[in-house]
């Protein structure tokens, strides 16, 4: 019979936001322990087929728990241990239990929670307002010096330089920007560093009559501002 601490920890874990950051390995271990404690040492059903990957992984985890622990008490202890690591506070939980005494769960399988998959973003029914962001058409990635500066693709620029060692790094693109303008504006520190190390011209003005330093300052990229002010 699971203890009230166990039930409280299970309730906590089923909703804890910290759990979303936890690896599947831990989640599966928790699942195996949970089933051990609540339903019995090993699964009674046969192992799900290879096509039911989730079901199979869960079955395996439960089965592994059954092999690792000889009594439910040990499995429960391990479960509480993980729960505490994930931020469950037994004291807080106990006092909460006090306020709302839990009724005996007659159904031994209190495993009411879905797995992580197949969670829709609509709040569970779709009614309410909608979250919107600025509509955006993805632009083609340009495999050019300027394109790499925009995309923060350091390796792209390095590769390009090894292919074309005398590449003009101060070249203006069709919109009138140098790679340094673009990298300073978008806040790509490593690209700015690379370009400066190659001795690019910091004083070139963009179509709005701004040098790279001014662009970085307006946008608030402090590190780039100090780099360009040197």
């Amino acid at each position: 019979m699971p203890s009230s601490s166990f039930e409280a920890a299970a309730a906590y874990l089923s909703t804890a936001s910290s759990l979303s950051k936890v690896s599947n390995t831990i989640k599966l271990e928790l699942y195996g322990l949970f089933k051990y404690v609540t339903a019995g040492p090993t699964p009674t059903s046969s192992r799900p087929s290879i096509f039911d990957m989730t079901g199979r992984a869960k079955w395996d985890a439960w089965n592994a728990a059954g092999k690792a622990y000889t009594q439910a008490q040990d499995a429960e202890t391990r479960y509480l241990e993980i729960a505490k690591e994930l931020g469950w506070d037994e004291q807080a939980a106990v006092s909460k239990q006090h306020e709302a005494p839990s009724t005996t769960n007659e159904d031994e399988d209190g495993d009411i929670w879905d797995s992580e998959e197949d969670v829709s973003s609509q709040g569970g029914g779709g009614l309410g307002c909608a979250v919107s962001t600025m509509a955006y058409t993805k632009e083609e990635s340009e495999k050019t010096l300027h394109g790499f500066a925009v995309e923060n693709n350091l390796k792209g620029i390095e590769d390009l330089l090894s292919l074309v060692p005398d590449l003009n790094l101060d070249e203006l693109d069709e919109h009138g920007y140098t790679p340094l303008h673009l990298a300073a504006d978008r806040g790509h520190l490593d690209i700015v560093k690379l370009l400066l190390s190659k001795g690019v011209d910091k004083s070139i003005k963009d179509p709005d009559d701004m040098a790279a330093l001014e662009l970085a300052r307006i946008v608030g990229h402090r590190e780039i501002v100090s780099l360009l002010s040197e």
């Binding site: 039930e7 769960n105 973003s121 709040g123 569970g124 779709g126 309410g128 307002c129 909608a130 662009l215």
Partner: protein, 553 residues
């Protein structure tokens, strides 16, 4: 409406509607209505000639059905679109190449629509499966066409004929009324929503309604505690689902009806397979019936049967560097973030003489201005004095401005301003907006997006002859008024100012540098028929936006 489901209810008592698995199956080729629906119903404007469209579309729809599971857009679909576009002669001949069509379709992410991952404009998703539930509800059903007369679908029932006992839940769960005036219970709703409520399609942002927002939105004058309905886990009492209604007097064209405004339907992320949503809707409907209310208004980002209007979100960037940083918007290749920032900088000060915060003494004048102004829209709330007080003043927060951060009081939810004519001391205009932040999911540097949403506004200029229209002075006055709203919002450190294509907004959005969003909002009435209303698109002789005068929170 309940009896039909009840007979079919499984012994567990959970939700009458379909299971997820079924949903997947019915999504298959032999039910072409799904892709059809997604293509045809992004606005209801098409409803009137839906027959004709259906026929035309059958070829497309066959093509769509045939290619589920593949992500490349097949020639058959491209050619079919090509043929139709040629027939309609709406695109210059030279631009009609298969490659162009393919590109356009790819941009529309049409394959995602076909495969049911998303609907047009990011709508729908899998919720198409919810149509089975809506098929049992008194709402206009697909293919009905617009009604001849406005009116109810199901007649009002006397109280004793309303189902008296709550709908059954699985024994793991139990019903619970939430007392929102109790900070502890309000916090429970806040916790549920902030972790589980609506997100954008990329799961980058999730609404974070504050506790004080919920108190403001859920406790207008005459609210009923019985309409704030939760589902708790039987053993732990943890709140895992919620739905709410608040009373509203609504004018729908010529009829004034008492409705409940349904909102904040939320089911815990990991209980979505339990089909709690339909039973929540049925229970709040039952509670509404018990109070003698038989109509409701609600909105959704998704399409279910049957929207009366669809509006699109627009966004005015205020803090451009942050918005770019969190992926809310992007810097186009042909400009700099620095230029974008400069172009979107809000003016430093408001310009309307006599602009000041609304106060208690303004309530009567604001009420009469509001009432007169809102008559210009087909669908609008009717507020009495108490409701005006609540909507525009009760959310103003505590302490003085600055206590809750720059430009804000503590716990401030709404900002309401009036323009008092310095000569006559009459209130000539007012505007309001509210704070609805979103969590920026997984972002340590910027955990919260501070968003202001345009709420109600009005101006006496609308009543002057010749004010309406593209060149009329109403448009110019509202531009000035809402620009002042942007200034106030910017001073209060909002990152973005959002508005929908409703009321007079459409005429203002472009000039005030709002950009189109990827989100849409569909408006619905429960148990009431009316013809489509102008939202994102114009309907009949009503210009875009002016069908809708209701802002849902």
């Amino acid at each position: 409406m309940a009896s039909k489901d009840q007979q079919k209810q499984p012994p567990t008592g959970i939700a009458p509607a379909e299971e997820h698995e079924e949903e997947e199956q019915t999504d298959s080729e032999d039910e072409p209505h799904d892709p059809d629906q997604a293509v045809g119903s992004s606005t209801t404007a098409l409803a009137s000639d839906s027959k004709k469209k259906k026929k035309k579309k059958s070829k497309v729809s066959r093509a769509l059905s045939a290619l589920k599971g593949k992500s490349k857009i097949p020639d058959e679909l491209v050619n079919s679109v090509l043929d139709r576009a040629k027939a309609e002669e709406s695109i210059p001949e030279g631009e009609l190449t298969p490659d162009n069509i393919r590109d356009a379709l790819e941009q529309l992410k049409i394959m995602d629509v076909v495969q049911g991952k998303v609907g047009l404009g990011g709508l729908n998703k899998k919720d198409m499966g919810a149509h089975k539930f809506w098929g049992t509800q008194p709402v206009p059903q697909p293919g009905e066409g617009p009604p001849i007369d406005d009116g109810y679908i199901e007649p009002t029932k006397p109280r004793e004929e309303v189902r008296q006992e709550p709908y059954p839940l699985h024994k793991d769960f139990e019903w619970s009324f939430l007392d929102i005036s109790d900070p502890k219970q309000c916090k429970e709703v806040y916790d549920l929503l902030s972790a589980n409520y609506v997100e954008d399609d990329q799961a980058s942002f999730r609404f974070q309604y504050s506790a004080e927002f919920l108190q403001w939105a859920l406790m207008p004058p005459g609210y009923h505690k019985e309409w704030h309905i939760g589902v708790r886990v039987t053993t732990t009492k943890k709140l895992v689902a919620f739905i709410s209604g608040v009373p509203m007097t609504l004018r729908v064209r010529k009829n004034v009806i008492n409705v409940t405004e349904i909102n904040y339907l939320c089911v815990h992320k990991r209980l979505r397979s339990k089909r709690l949503a339909p039973v929540l809707i049925k229970e709040v409907t039952r509670q509404t019936h018990l109070k003698g209310i038989f109509q409701a208004i609600y909105t959704a980002g998704v399409i279910v049967p049957t929207p009366i209007s669809t509006c699109r979100y627009f966004h005015r960037s205020l803090n451009v560097p942050k918005l770019v940083d969190i992926g809310f918007c992007y810097v186009p290749r042909n400009m700099t973030l620095a230029r974008m920032t400069r172009l979107n900088a809000a003016p430093g000060a408001t310009v309307l003489p006599g602009l000041r915060e609304m106060e208690e003494k303004d309530i009567l004048q604001v009420a009469s201005l509001f009432t007169r102004f809102m008559q210009r829209f087909s669908l609008a709330p009717i507020y009495d004095i108490g409701e005006i007080q609540h909507q525009f003043l009760s959310g103003r927060g505590e302490g003085s401005i600055g206590d809750g951060g720059q430009g804000r009081r503590e716990r401030q939810v709404t900002w309401s301003y009036v323009v008092e004519d310095p000569g006559t001391q009459q209130i000539t205009d007012f505007f309001s907006f509210y704070s609805l932040p979103s969590t920026v999911i997984g972002n340590q540097k910027h955990p919260v997006l501070e968003a202001a949403y345009l709420y109600y506004y009005a101006t006496t200029v609308a009543f002057e002859p010749g004010a309406e229209g593209e060149e009329g002075h109403l448009k110019r006055r509202l531009e000035t008024l809402i620009t002042d709203a942007l200034v106030v919002a910017n001073d209060a450190k909002f990152d973005v100012f959002n508005a929908l294509t409703l009321m007079d907004n459409v005429s203002l959005l472009q000039d005030l540098k709002f950009g189109p969003g990827d989100g849409y909002l569909n408006f619905y009435l429960y148990n009431w028929r009316t013809a489509p209303l102008s939202g994102m698109n114009a309907e009949a002789d009503v210009p875009a936006g002016k069908g809708i005068g209701v802002v849902m929170l």
